[in-house]
């Protein structure tokens, strides 16, 4: 029965990593939120396939109650998981706390800044994505008006939006940019109304920074038959004539890097405790144009390629976006 789970577990914890590495993924949202959580979920699942036998993955979703995080971490730690991933900055304090109690266990924190020897932080350079989308939008707009819609403004989203605006201005100095937040991740209808208002006000390209609300933006583009730039995944199928492109995350490289470090025992003694999902390591990519490819001028594509390279070798000057 459950009664002895804990004891079994703790023994498991003591054993050394001969047997597959046990990875626990804790998601604050749902694995099908078409965004942050889903991307990570799929990234990890992909690695599980690739590393079949080397790692085995469990996940739990919707641990959004901040007060539930700590018990969840402790649960998995006490069951002898080797790597526990907390996919959101609200996991920071709990991880720091629990990591001290379980020095054997490795912890990964999705965005944040505090670390311990047995913990690390991974993050997405959404500014890379934002920059790419900004460039594209800035070049593609005919009305010189573009927009960006976000859910709640959290650190990486904020950085993304700022980069988007910054990049657009680079390629198109006298561009007008509209921006709004819906204040939550789920009210797609609100987001759609927001996007419609932007299109009505003359914007012809809108980027959204993800989640359920993103679907609202895409639907608005479809209804108004204007251009939408997706996020997180290639969202072209949602509106093939309107979703021009978008950025897609692929978390696999980052997770892989972490896992490798653990397997080769240089996770703890690794000096740099940050793993970044970037354009460089193929984590942040631009979704293909699909049927709309013909509508994109060659020089735009060229510029886009140039920016990608620039981001890859850090030659793109980008201010530090922080409140």
């Amino acid at each position: 029965g459950c009664g002895n789970k804990e004891e079994k577990a703790t023994q498991g914890g003591k054993e050394d990593g001969k047997k597959p590495l046990k990875v626990a993924l804790i998601l604050p949202g749902k694995i099908d939120d078409v965004s942050w959580n889903q991307a990570m979920y799929e990234g990890v699942k992909a690695l599980e396939k690739e590393y079949a036998g080397k790692i085995e993955v469990t996940y739990t979703e919707q641990v959004y109650e901040v007060s539930n995080i700590e018990p969840t971490l402790r649960d998995f730690a006490s069951q002898g998981y080797d790597l526990i991933i907390g996919h959101g900055f609200q996991f920071m304090e709990p991880i720091i706390k629990v990591a001290q109690e379980y020095p054997e266990t490795k912890f990964a924190l999705g965005t944040g800044f505090k670390t311990l020897p047995n913990t690390c932080v991974y993050d997405v350079k959404l500014e890379d994505g934002g920059y790419l989308m900004g460039t594209l939008a800035g070049l593609m707009t005919k009305t010189n008006k573009i927009g960006v819609v976000g859910g709640a403004d959290v650190a990486e989203i904020y950085r993304g939006h700022e980069a988007f605006k910054h990049a657009a201005k680079q390629v198109n100095p006298d561009i007008q940019i509209q921006e709004l937040y819906t204040g939550d991740w789920r009210d797609a209808a609100k987001a759609k109304e927001g996007a419609i208002s932007m299109y009505d006000a003359g914007a012809d390209v809108i980027w959204h920074s993800g989640d359920g609300i993103g679907l609202g933006v895409v639907d608005a583009g479809k209804e108004k038959n204007k251009t939408v730039l997706g996020n997180v995944a290639d969202q072209n199928v949602l509106a093939p004539n309107n979703v021009l492109s978008g950025i897609a995350y692929n978390w696999t490289p980052v997770v892989k890097e972490m896992v490798d470090d653990i397997l080769n025992n240089n996770f703890t003694n690794r000096d740099k405790k940050f793993y970044w999902l970037t354009a460089a390591n193929g984590g942040v990519t631009v979704a293909p144009f699909h049927g709309l490819d013909s509508t994109v001028p060659a020089e735009v594509k060229a510029k886009l390629e140039e920016v990608k390279k620039g981001l890859a070798n850090n030659t793109v000057e980008m201010p530090k976006f922080e409140k």
């Binding site: 749902k30 694995i31 099908d32 078409v34 889903q38 799929e42 927009g147 403004d153 509209q178 921006e179 709004l180 937040y181 819906t182 204040g183 939550d184 789920r186 009210d187 797609a188 209808a189 609100k190 759609k192 109304e193 927001g194 419609i196 208002s197 932007m198 009505d200 006000a201 359920g212 679907l215 609202g216 639907d219 209804e223 995944a233 969202q235 199928v237 949602l238």
Partner: protein, 314 residues
């Protein structure tokens, strides 16, 4: 930004937006007029709307027929509201807790069923939503055309239902019974009106409308289902009814006010109004309070509001 605010284009966009945004609330509020007039406070509408949104989407998804979706949404709403009716009329439970329970259940159940039906997909399943339906001549009117006469058919339905609700309430025997039951159930009873039956019906009517309101979100305005996509509109509807003082026309006004505030708030954000966006997001709620303050002096609740009726008690 001021310049943009003044353009006619902006106004059209704003007003049309106000209407779109208010419709799901309006549907639910209209039904809730029956429920509240009969003396029942149904805080479960949020949950019912979610079930309706799901029902509408599933129905449409599997039959490719929007009207089947609407029908299923209504049925779902009715069935789900039966729980509320049972708790508040038969069990005579406290209506606040009953409604709360229903909302918790509906939130969980809709998400749960959605996942069990569609599983986890890379991108969510979608349907073709109700298209905009331009009313022949009126639709071409310079200003009012795009504002009023270029919406999907459910929007027009909502406006028709405002009138219907008024007629039923004021001009039919049923309406009379409903009002009596909410004011003085014992009197209604001693005049041969079946109080529990009327209350059951009124809660179910409320459920039907709430189902419709939910469906408007999933297959009318949007084209997919997301859990918690109702995002508090069920509660807003209850508020709308109270501050409309149980009158369908005022409810229309109230819903438009709230919807309008929301539409405006989004536009102000987009146009870069130099205020923290959280303040703008809060605007509709603050406005609701302010309006409530100005209209409440006159408010007279149904005398038997939230009071269960039992013959043998006196």
């Amino acid at each position: 930004m001021q310049t943009e605010l003044l353009t006619q284009g902006f106004l059209i966009s704003l007003l049309a937006g106000a209407i779109r945004t208010s419709v799901p609330i309006l549907f639910t509020a209209l039904g809730d007029i029956f429920t509240q007039r009969a003396g029942i406070l149904n805080l479960g509408l949020e949950g019912i709307m979610l079930m309706g949104a799901l029902g509408g989407f599933v129905g449409t998804y599997f039959t490719d027929n929007l009207w089947v979706g609407v029908l299923i949404a209504i049925l779902t709403g009715v069935l789900f509201s039966l729980i509320m009716a049972f708790l508040s009329v038969t069990v005579k439970a406290n209506q606040v807790i009953a409604g709360t329970a229903l909302t918790i259940l509906g939130t969980g159940l809709s998400a749960y069923l959605y996942r069990s039906i569609f599983g986890v997909q890379k991108l969510p399943p979608q349907i073709e939503a109700f298209p905009a339906l331009k009313i022949p001549i009126l639709g071409d009117l310079p200003f009012w055309g795009p504002v009023f006469f270029n919406h999907n058919i459910l929007v027009y339905l909502a406006f028709i239902l405002v009138i219907v609700t008024h007629i039923v309430m004021e001009k039919t025997t049923f309406g009379l019974s409903v009002r009596a039951v909410g004011e003085h159930p014992r009197a209604a009873d001693s005049r041969g009106i079946n109080v529990p039956l009327v209350r059951y019906l009124c809660v179910m009517i409320g459920g039907a409308f709430a189902g419709l309101g939910g469906a408007f979100l999933s297959i009318g305005f949007m084209n997919t289902f997301l859990d918690q996509m109702v995002a508090g509109r069920g509660f807003i509807a209850v508020a709308v009814v109270i501050f409309a003082r149980w009158n369908p026309y005022r409810a229309l006004g109230a819903a438009l006010l709230f919807g309008g505030a929301n539409a405006l708030q989004l536009r102000l954000q987009a146009l870069g109004m130099p205020v923290p966006h959280q303040f703008l997001l809060a605007l509709p709620y603050i406005l609701t309070i302010l309006v409530l303050l100005s209209v409440s002096k006159k408010a007279e609740f149904p005398a038997a509001y939230t009071v269960p009726y039992s013959r043998s008690e006196r």
